[in-house]
């Protein structure tokens, strides 16, 4: 009964929305400039939000006199530019002014720091990319702050869980009651079946850390603080590189034998020569493709989720009508719920696939058995 009314409501809403969009087109024709302005502003805002920033801004608004006001706090900027340069990001005034340090001028342009002259000129190359010198930027950015906060949170949570075992005779208390089953799930349903009963133990700390790290950061991304850590390519690359390093450093002889001799005893050597010209490069490429798929998957999923929610929220301001805005609010709400699921799912997938790769690397074949099968 209730479902019926809901669908009816949606139908009516869709009808109205259709009418509305005609109407808005007409309006847009009149004040096209203003409309496109709003759209570009929203687009810029979304892309700005997706990027890392040098200050921790919670929100910003424009005053009636046109002044842009930011609420948040500055973060330290650490540059390597012929020597270490450390200064507060408040010097940039959110990209509005140049920062002068020891006679050097730095400009914040699209969230990146460039070295400029005293006037702050940015020179562009043919492809309209800034050609100015980019000093090595080791700033404590918003993402770094979030990594530290997440790390502290994890230390607090799991440290207390570990202590509660000692205090309470092996039974967790408090938040540990919620997290212990997840820890056990990762052990029993991710590590054990994929890596094997004998070797799963040495991979457990990494799998647990990476799972909770990604999950917590994904969930932080769902807060209105405008955090997008796991949707940053540098973060996912770092995580995937760790998986890659651990996979190949714990690889057994069998694993490397498989890389360079994938067919083993099932083919005589003269047959292998022809096949291996193609097969071995593919196998070696696979080494890199596996973690690369990890980093792109996590990055793209989180990035896409943020863009979709940002766009749906932006739609509210574009529609500015009693039916369009609530509808896009409803949609944004629904997508948010899905994103909460995606946050967990992506952490799970990253951990699961890492475990799978570790499993491949630490596998030890029974060659005698294999030979029997080949015969």
């Amino acid at each position: 009964m209730r479902k019926d009314t809901f669908t009816r409501f949606l139908l009516i809403a869709a009808l109205f929305l259709g009418q509305f969009s005609f109407a808005s087109e007409a309006k847009e024709a009149i004040s096209e400039e203003q409309g496109t302005d709003l759209k570009t502003e929203i687009k810029d805002y979304i892309f700005h939000h997706l990027k890392d920033s040098h200050d921790f801004s919670l929100f910003s608004y424009t005053k009636e006199n046109g002044e842009h006001k930011y609420v948040g706090f500055p973060l330290p900027v650490i540059l390597w530019d012929e020597g270490l340069q450390v200064f507060s990001s408040s010097k940039f005034h959110h990209g509005e002014t140049l920062a002068e340090v020891d006679g050097n001028y730095y400009k914040l342009y699209h969230n990146k720091i460039y070295k400029t002259d005293a006037e702050g000129t940015i020179n562009y190359d043919e492809e309209h990319h800034p050609a100015n010198i980019k000093p090595l930027d080791f700033s404590i950015t918003k993402n770094v702050v979030m990594i530290i906060i997440t790390g502290l949170l994890m230390l607090l949570l799991f440290g207390s869980l570990a202590r509660s075992y000692a205090k309470n005779n092996g039974i967790p208390t408090g938040a540990g009651r919620f997290f212990e089953p997840i820890v056990l799930y990762i052990r029993d349903d991710i590590a054990r079946p994929n890596i094997g009963e004998k070797r799963y133990k040495k991979y457990m700390p990494f799998l647990l850390t990476i799972f909770f790290f990604i999950w917590f950061l994904n969930m932080f991304g769902m807060t209105p603080l405008g955090i997008n850590v796991t949707g940053n390519i540098a973060i996912t690359t770092s995580l995937a590189v760790l998986t890659f390093i651990i996979t190949n450093f714990t690889g057994t002889k069998d694993y490397w034998m498989h890389q360079f001799d994938p067919l083993g005893k099932s083919l005589p050597w003269y047959g292998k020569i022809v096949l291996y010209i193609i097969l071995v490069p593919i196998e070696l490429l696979g080494l890199i493709i596996k973690p690369f798929s990890l980093l792109i998957r996590l990055y793209a999923n989180m990035q896409a989720g943020h863009i979709v929610i940002g766009s749906l929220i932006g739609l509210m301001f574009i529609f500015k009508s009693w039916i369009g805005s609530p509808l896009s609010f409803g949609l944004a709400f629904a997508i948010s719920l899905i994103e909460i699921l995606v946050a967990l799912l992506q952490a799970y997938i990253f951990t699961m696939l890492s475990a799978l790769y570790f499993g491949f690397a630490s596998e030890e074949h029974e060659h005698e058995h294999e030979a029997e099968v080949a015969q």
Binding site: D137, G151, M154, Y165, G170, I235, T237
Partner: protein, 166 residues
């Protein structure tokens, strides 16, 4: 791809790797190791407890089987004891009977012998008495008979007549 590369920040990569490595190390040391150990210990404890329960159950079964065996043995022993007792009783009774029989027979025989001898003695006595009486009677009769001559002759005649008849 170019956009991705442009977006890639070396500084952030550096911090992420460093901080994640640090986090991994600290959590390994202070969280995962004790947590996994505690969970393992707990699981082992549960497994041990279950094993112990199983063991106890088996032992219990053994004890029950033992006691049953003992009971059976006891029952069998009782049975044999009863049987033996019955046999002994029967034997005793039979023996007693036999003995009684033998004793009785002996007594009867003795009694019979006694009776016989008494009887013999009595008969002998009677015989002697009868003989005496007969002799006395005969004496008296003879005395009577032989008191006169007639009678003496008659007697002689009768006797002689008897002899003839014989």
């Amino acid at each position: 791809m170019e956009k991705l590369l442009e977006e890639f920040s070396v500084g952030l990569f550096f911090w992420q790797t460093l901080l994640f490595g640090l986090l991994l190390f600290l959590l390994w040391k202070f969280a995962w190791k004790p947590i996994l150990n505690a969970v393992n210990d707990r699981e082992e404890g549960i497994k041990n407890a279950l094993d112990a329960a199983e063991e106890a159950k088996k032992e219990m079964q053994n004890v029950t089987a033992d006691s049953e065996k003992l009971l059976k043995e006891a029952r069998a022993e009782r049975e044999t004891l009863l049987k033996e007792a019955r046999e002994i009783k029967e034997r005793i009774v039979a023996e007693a009977k036999d003995q009684a029989q033998v004793e009785g027979d002996k007594m009867i025989k003795q009694a019979q012998a006694a009776i016989e001898s008494e009887k013999k003695a009595a008969v002998a006595d009677i015989k002697a008495q009868v003989a005496n009486l007969s002799v006395d009677i005969a004496e008296k009769v003879i005395k009577e008979e032989l008191s006169d001559k007639k009678k003496q002759h008659k007697l002689v005649d009768d006797m002689l007549g008897d002899i003839k008849l014989n």
